[in-house]
Every structure is written in structure tokens, then in C-alpha cells.
């Protein structure tokens, strides 16, 4: 049984359709990469999957609960099994890294402080930040912040780990380190990992399956090799880094023509 299944998901903002009838099943233990360019709707899809927004129609079913319709109490329960690391890391600026990781443990468990300290240390050690727990988020580098966010997402031992653009804004070496971290986590904890990204090398390194999003629709869903072999022109365009024809000569000529006509009518 899939751990997350998305059924006919439609999201509209001001009558603009951002997600258009998406269907996707994510199996337990797999790493699913949601790939897509800017404006393809991948961040919107992510926000739907973690229950931050409700869809216009359709449903998102996580562990058998439809989070687009359930009560807020049920949603809270589901959220304990989802860990999210946001694009901007979103560590609380007023708390040290340690306290950031400890926060969900303090709030949602009745563990003794000494146990919480130990768990926090372990989570930080997993992401390689064991010596930096006392620092404040603004004292960390970009890559360290992201790893801190991953540690916080791991705090409650979630079944599903969601990472939003983990390698955005990082240099290739740090981005590669993060990819290795994701692989390690998956191996160590058998988690379902969902990664939203637009970085091809990273996607092909970590993914079991890739879902490619274009203008609110999946144009291709499959394993790495299937995507690589895909003949879909949009997929090829993404893989081969071909730009859109933004400035077609005819379009410019048309525009110029219209401009001249309006000038004439004014005179």
C-alpha cells in the first residue's frame, strides 16, 4: 500500500490553475524526486503533501488519512510522522541549533531532559553538526543550516522525510555532501524520502523514482533510467538544458507593428 497517494489533485489560485489533476503513489521506503522548473508547481505540490494548504479539489492521502479533508487533530497526528526541511532551512533564529532540534521533542514527548539532550546530540551527529549545537542559526553557513534543518526534521523519527530544494544556493561540493547524507539517512532509517529539486545531477544521484512536473501536470513518472530514456520533448528539454524560445523574431515584429499602429491612431 502506498504511504502517500495523490488523487486528481487540483489547486487554483485566483482561477489560475497551478496543479492540474495530479495522480501519484509513493511507496514506503522509496526516494521520490519531484523535478521541475520554476513555476512548474512543485512547491505548491509540496505544500499540499505536508498539509499546509488545502486543494481546490482532489485528495492527498498520507498513511490512509485524507489530509485534505481530515480534522485538525488528525492532521496534527499525521504531522508527527512527517519531517520537513524547508528551502530556507527555517531554523528558529532566536534558538540555538540544539534547541531547534530539541523543540519538537520537548513539545510532543514526555522524555526526560537528559534523554532529549542525548537524542538531540545523536540527530546532530547524523548530519555532522555535533560540535555546532550551541551556535545560533545565523552563525552557520548555508550548508550547515540546511543540515540543521534536516536534523530538526528527523527529531521525531518520522517515517516520511520531505526536503524542499536541499541543494539550492549551495556550492557543488556541499550539495553533493547533502545528497550523500540523504542516501545515508535512507539506508540507516528506511525512510520514505521526498525531495523537491531542479538540480539534475542531485536528482539522478538520490532518486529511486523521479516525477517530472511541467505546468502543473506530471509529464513523466518513472525510474532514473526511464526518465533518461524518455522521448518527451519537455523532458528532453530539461535534461539537455535547451532554453525556451522566449524571443521569437516574429513575436517581436508583431509587437512592433502593433505599437506603430497605435502611434498612428494617436496622431
Amino acid at each position: 500500500m502506498p504511504i502517500i497517494s495523490i488523487r486528481d489533485l487540483v489547486v487554483e489560485y485566483d482561477e489560475r490553475r497551478v496543479l492540474d489533476g495530479l495522480n501519484l503513489d509513493i511507496e514506503p521506503g522509496e526516494t521520490m524526486v519531484l523535478l521541475g522548473g520554476s513555476g512548474s508547481g512543485k512547491s505548491t505540490l509540496l505544500r499540499q503533501m505536508i498539509g499546509l494548504e488545502r486543494p481546490t479539489s482532489g485528495s492527498v492521502i498520507v498513511k490512509g488519512v485524507d489530509i485534505s479533508r481530515c480534522s485538525s487533530a488528525e492532521l496534527k497526528k499525521i504531522r508527527h510522522s512527517i519531517g520537513v526541511a524547508f528551502q530556507s532551512a527555517a531554523l528558529f533564529n532566536s534558538l540555538s541549533v540544539e534547541n531547534n532540534v530539541a523543540l519538537p521533542l520537548r513539545e510532543h514527548t514526555k522524555l526526560a531532559p537528559s534523554i532529549i539532550d542525548l537524542m538531540v546530540w545523536m540527530k546532530l551527529a547524523v548530519v555532522g553538526l555535533a560540535d555546532f549545537g550551541k551556535l545560533l542559526p545565523q552563525e552557520l553557513s548555508g550548508g550547515m543550516k540546511k543540515r540543521g534543518a534536516v536534523a530538526r526534521a528527523l527529531a521525531l523519527d518520522p517515517e516520511i522525510l520531505v526536503l524542499d530544494e536541499p541543494s539550492a544556493g549551495l556550492d557543488p561540493i556541499v550539495a553533493a555532501e547533502l545528497d550523500e547524507l540523504i542516501l545515508l539517512l535512507k539506508e540507516a532509517f528506511q525512510m520514505t524520502v521526498i525531495v523537491v529539486t531542479h538540480e539534475m545531477p542531485s536528482a539522478f544521484r538520490i532518486a529511486d523514482r523521479i516525477a517530472m512536473l511541467y505546468k502543473g501536470k506530471f509529464i513523466s513518472v518513472g525510474t532514473k533510467d526511464e526518465i533518461k530514456a524518455s522521448q518527451n520533448p519537455r523532458v528532453r528539454q530539461f535534461l539537455d538544458r535547451i532554453p525556451d524560445d522566449m524571443a521569437k523574431a516574429t513575436a517581436i515584429a508583431d509587437h512592433f507593428e502593433k505599437y506603430l499602429q497605435t502611434q498612428e491612431t494617436h496622431q
Binding site: V84, F86, A90, L91, P104, E107, H108, A149
Partner: protein, 267 residues
């Protein structure tokens, strides 16, 4: 013509929407308030409340007391220049004592706090929104209303009336200084006159007002923060909005309360 009507309609709807949001937020916060209380609530919320109380109350004390001293002095001077003509200089005592406890103490404090803390609330929450911290609270199954707003509201409800009492005290002391230097009225005698001229009713109506002002400042500040969307420029705008709107609403509420007290509470 239609355009003007359209504009008026849209503005009215926007204002109604704002007032509605404020009420919804107030209600949600009241329901979440229990967690911020000491002993029965959540320990971490109460700690946050104490921190906020220091920020709203203790840190504002020097500024509020200096403002109160200056205003008390101004009130005494202005009153004296008129009252002296009628040989009724001792009425300055009543003017300062009653004026401060009923009106100026609560109002001055509210304006000072809305400038200091209302803007700080908006900036803090707005920044949390921009940096996805509010989202990450939500995905950790922590409600921002409970986690961020309830401690601020409780802290404002406690510290603003306390500041008001200090403001009343310092305003009256300033009046006493004036009387001492202008008519050599002994300070102890001055305080006896003050106690004769004000009734407990005056102090209590002033404190009721200050509780209402605290509600306005905390909720307008936080709502402006929650309404931030987009980038950092929006945070700046919301901070300005918080001060302007809360000061405006404080004065409107003051007028309403004063009218109510005038017509209902007869000596």
C-alpha cells in the same frame, strides 16, 4: 462615478475583512490562552510569556515614565496658566490626578507600547512568515497562534496595565513637582490632596481601558505580521501598518470607553 463607488465598496469590504480577521484571531487566541498560563499551561509558553513581559513592560519602563513625567509637567503648566487667572491654582492637582488616572496614563502607555512592541510583534511574525518559520512550526504540529501569539497577548494583558499604573504614578509625581516649585506645596500634602481628588473608580476605569488597549496592540501587531506575504519589503509595510492601525484603534476605543463610562458610571 462607478469607479468611485467601486473603490468605496472595495475599501469597506477590506476594512470589514480586517475587523473580521481580528475577531477570529482574538477568539482563537483566547482558546489557546490556557497553554500560556503558569502551572496549568505549558512550561515553555509561560517562559516565553515571561520573556515577553520583560520586553513589553520592563524595557519600556524608562521611556514610559519619562513620557509620563513630561506630560504631567505639561498638563500642570498648561492648566496652571489658565487656572491662575481665576485664583484656582489648587485645581491643578485635580486636573493632573484625574486626568492621568482616567485618561492620559492609559493612553500614553498604549501609544508608547504600540510604537515599541506592536511594531516589534509585526516585524517578528512577519519575518517568521517570510523565512518559512511559521510553516515549519505548523508542520511540527505547533500552532503559531498558540506558540507565538498567546504568550505575547498574555504578556501584553499583564504588563500594559502595570505600565499604566507606573505612568499614572509618575505623571502625578510630576504634577507634585510643579506644585512644589510654584507654590511651595509640601509633597506629602500634595499626595493627600491627590488621594482626595481621585476615586477608586477613576483608577479602575483607566485600567479597564488599558486592558482593551493591550488587546488591540497585541492583536493588530500580530495580525499585521501574519498578513505579510512576499518579501522583506512587505515586513516593513506591515510594521508601519501595525503602529498606525493600533494607534488609531486605541484612540477610537478610548473615545468609545470614555463615552460608556461617562454615561454609565455616575459618581
Amino acid at each position: 462615478m462607478a469607479n468611485i463607488l467601486e473603490n468605496v465598496g472595495r475599501r469597506t469590504l477590506n476594512d470589514l475583512d480586517y475587523v473580521g480577521s481580528l475577531n477570529i484571531q482574538l477568539w482563537a487566541t483566547l482558546r489557546a490562552m490556557k497553554t500560556a498560563l503558569p502551572i496549568v499551561g505549558n512550561r515553555y509558553r509561560w517562559q516565553a510569556t515571561l520573556r515577553q513581559m520583560l520586553e513589553i513592560g520592563y524595557d519600556a519602563l524608562p521611556m514610559v515614565s519619562l513620557m509620563a513625567i513630561c506630560t504631567g509637567f505639561i498638563l500642570a503648566l498648561q492648566g496652571a496658566s489658565e487656572l491662575r487667572r481665576f485664583g484656582a491654582l489648587h485645581y491643578v492637582i485635580d486636573l493632573v490626578a484625574v486626568g492621568f488616572t482616567r485618561e492620559l496614563g492609559p493612553l500614553l502607555t498604549a501609544i508608547a507600547v504600540s510604537g515599541r512592541s506592536g511594531s516589534a510583534f509585526a516585524a517578528e511574525i512577519g519575518t517568521m512568515k517570510v523565512t518559512e518559520e511559521l510553516d515549519s512550526l505548523r508542520v511540527m504540529a505547533l500552532e503559531p497562534i498558540e506558540f507565538v501569539l498567546a504568550p505575547k497577548f498574555l504578556a501584553a494583558l499583564i504588563s500594559i496595565p502595570c505600565l499604566t499604573i507606573m505612568s499614572n504614578f509618575f505623571g502625578i509625581v510630576a504634577g507634585g513637582l510643579f506644585m512644589f516649585f510654584s507654590t511651595r506645596l509640601a509633597p506629602l500634602l500634595y499626595f493627600r490632596y491627590v488621594l482626595e481628588s481621585i476615586a477608586l473608580r477613576d483608577v479602575i476605569t483607566g485600567l479597564i481601558k488599558s486592558v482593551a488597549f493591550a488587546t488591540i496592540i497585541a492583536h493588530v501587531g500580530c495580525l499585521e505580521g501574519f498578513r505579510v506575504h512576499g518579501g522583506p519589503d512587505s515586513v516593513g509595510r506591515s510594521t508601519t501598518g501595525a503602529v498606525v492601525k493600533s494607534t488609531f484603534l486605541v484612540i477610537v476605543a478610548d473615545a468609545v470607553f470614555t463615552a460608556i463610562f461617562y454615561f454609565t458610571v455616575r459618581p
